[in-house]
Symmetry: C2
Subunit: 410 residues, 2 copies
Amino acid sequence: MTTNATAASDLYDFTEPFKAPQGSAIRELFKYLARPGMISFAGGYPSKDLFDRAGIRRAMEEAYRADPIACLQYGDTAGAPALRRAIVRLMNDRSVAREIDDLIVTTGSQQGLDLLIKILVAPGDAVLIEEPAYPAAIQALRLAGAKLIPVRTDTQGIDVDALTEQLEALDPAVRPKLLYTVPTFANPTGTTLPVERREALARLAMRFRFVLIEDDPYGELRFTGDPVKPIIALADAIPGARDWVVYFGSLSKIVAPGLRIGWSIASPAITRRMLVAKQTSDLCTSPLAQETARFYLESGRLAEHVPVIVQAYKKRYEALSSALRQFVPDDIEYVVPQGGMFVWARLKGDRLAADVLKRAIEQNVIYVPGPAFYVHNADESSMRLSFAAAPGEAEVFEGVRRLKLALASR
Amino acid sequence: MTTNATAASDLYDFTEPFKAPQGSAIRELFKYLARPGMISFAGGYPSKDLFDRAGIRRAMEEAYRADPIACLQYGDTAGAPALRRAIVRLMNDRSVAREIDDLIVTTGSQQGLDLLIKILVAPGDAVLIEEPAYPAAIQALRLAGAKLIPVRTDTQGIDVDALTEQLEALDPAVRPKLLYTVPTFANPTGTTLPVERREALARLAMRFRFVLIEDDPYGELRFTGDPVKPIIALADAIPGARDWVVYFGSLSKIVAPGLRIGWSIASPAITRRMLVAKQTSDLCTSPLAQETARFYLESGRLAEHVPVIVQAYKKRYEALSSALRQFVPDDIEYVVPQGGMFVWARLKGDRLAADVLKRAIEQNVIYVPGPAFYVHNADESSMRLSFAAAPGEAEVFEGVRRLKLALASR
C-alpha cells in the first residue's frame, strides 16, 4: 500500500446495511473448538460420527463409473432430472405431492433462501421472521436490506394469534413480502408447530399475501411424538393456499452437508423466477455432488440410515436433559424438543448467557448465547445447546457438569 | 388451483427488473442440441472429450480415503485452506502474488460475481460492462437492478481511450461501482487486452474509483502468441491500483465444470465483505468437490493436462478458421483469437444472424446470434462460434459447409 494513493478499502462506499453481522458471535466461538478437551454444545453441525461413509463412497464411485461426463460437465440449472425424481419420491414420503418441475436443486437449502430473497426482496421491504431464528436467515435478509419484523414464538413455535393481530395492526403500506420459519424442530428453539397453527399460518399467508417460507432441514429427525405434515402438504387442502408456500429441504442433516444438496419446492411462477436467479448465482449445483446424492438416494440406504441418526440423537438428547436435571435444576430451564438437534435453554435469575459463557470457556465447555438468534430485543439469558454433535453421552454429562462449575464461579 | 382464491402467481408483485432475461436466446438453442446429427458451434461448455477422467477419479477417491469427514462435513466459508494454498500456487504461476487470506473459494466463478454484486450493487447503481459481454454477467447485474453502461471494445478488447472519454463525460453524480471485463480470450469475442491497456484500465479504476472485475476463466487456454500478465498482477506495480482489482479464476475450463470450483482474489476489505455474503449464499462450496479439486491440483497432473486441452482447441480453431476461409470467405468475417474457446464472427452485407440461424437449424448446425451478448444496441449481424466443444476437425468442416448452405438458402 502506498501513501500517495487512495486504497479501495479506505474510500469505497460499500453497501453494507449491517454494522455487526449476525453470526459473528457464533463464528467467534469456532476458535475454541480446536482446544484440547473442549466439549461443545455450540455447533449447528450434524454429528460427523453418523455419516454413512461407506454408503456415500459407494454412491460416489458408482455415479462416476456410470457416467463420468454427467459428473464433470455443466448440468441443468434446475438440477439433474434423476436427482429431482429421487427427491420427489422422498417428498412423497413426507406427504408432499409435487412434480420435478416444481423443484429446484439448490447448493444447500441456504441457497434456496438466497434465491427467493433475490427475486422478492428489494431494500426496505418488510419481511416477517420468527424470533428467535436461524442466524444465517437473519443475516441473508439483512444483507438484502430487508426491514425485519420479528414474530413472537412460544414453546410450540410461532404464536399465530399474536401474528394475526400484528398483521391486522400493520400500516397497510407495509406489506410483508415473506415470512421465514422453521416449523419442525426449529433452530434454535427445537419447537414444532402444531397442525392447527400450520393451517392457520398458510391461511394467513394467503390472506395477507406474503410468501411463507417453510425451511425444513430437521423434519426427519423426530425421536418422540407423532409426525406433523409439512405446511406445504397441508396447504393442498386449503383452497388458494398452495402457491403461497415455499418449502426448502436439505440432505445436510440426513446424508451429509459436504454435498451441499438442498432443494426448493414452489409454485411455477416462483420457481421460474428462482431459476433465473440460480443461473446468475452459480449456474448449477455441483453435478458431481448431485450424481453422488442421486445414487445414494436410489440405493435405498437413507431409509435405513435416518433411524440410526435419530436413535443416536435421541440418546444424546436424553443424556443432555438428564444431566441438566441432575446438575443444574435450579439454574437452567429448557424447552423439551421432539426431535432435531437443539435444546433452547434459559438461565434462571436473569443471568446473562454471554457472561456465563466466559466462565464456561474457562471450564472447557461452550454453547451459543441466545442473542445471536434475535433481530432486536434479545433474551440475554437464553442459550442454544446442541446435543447432536456431542460424541457420546459421557461427554454430554461432563459438559453439563462443567456448566455447573461455570455457573458456580460467579 | 381454485377459482375463488387468488394465486400467488397472479397477484404477487415480484421484483423482476428484466422483461426478457438475457441468455434465454441461448437456452432456447439447447433443445436442438439433442437432435441427431446436429453440429453445434453454440455451446459455451468445455469439451467433454478432454476431461482428465482418470486423474479426477483418482483425486476424488484419494481425497475421500484420506479424510472422509473433510469431504462430508461443513467446511470453512472461505474454502479449505489446503485447496486455497494449491490455488495460490497456481496463481503464482500466473505472476499473481497473493496469500490464501486474499482468496475465497467460490461455487464456480459465477458466484464470485454474485457475491461482489451483493456487497456493492444497490438497485439503480451504475455498472460498466464491456460490450459484447458474457450473458450471465449481464443477467446477474440486471437482476440486481444495476444500471448498465456498455463499454466499447475493438479487436483488442476494451477501448480504454474511449472509456476514459466516456468516464470524463459522465455526470459526476453517476459514479460507476464496477467494471466487468474478461480481458483474456474474452467471451464472446475471443479478444485479448494488450498489456498497455491493462495498465491503463487499472489506473482508470483507481482514478474513477470503481472496482475492476477481471474475470479469467480462459487465461490458460493460449494456443498462440505470448502470455500477457493478468491485470491483478500488473496492478502491483501501479501505486494504489492493487486494491481496486478483483480477480475471478475457475477450474471449469481446465479441470471440469462439474466440480463448481472457482475463486476470487481481492483486497482484505472486499474479501471480508464477500465472506459475509458467501455465508448467506451457500455457507460453503461443496467440501467433497473442494477436496477432489485439492487432491487433483496437488497431484501435479494439471500442468501436463492443460497443454493437452490447448493443443486440441488449437486444432479445432485452425479447422474452423480454415473452413470459414474455404467455404464462406465472402459471407463471414471474424476476429482471430490467440486462445480460448470462441470465434466472434460477423455476417457481411448486414444479414441478420437470427434469420440465418433459422436456416442453419434446417441444415443441422447451430451457433449463438450476437444480440445475446449485448446490453443495448446489438450488432444483429454478429455471432459467436464455439470451436471448443466440436468433437473433431471433420465435424467442424462439415458444420461450416452447412453454414454455407444456410447462407445460400436465403
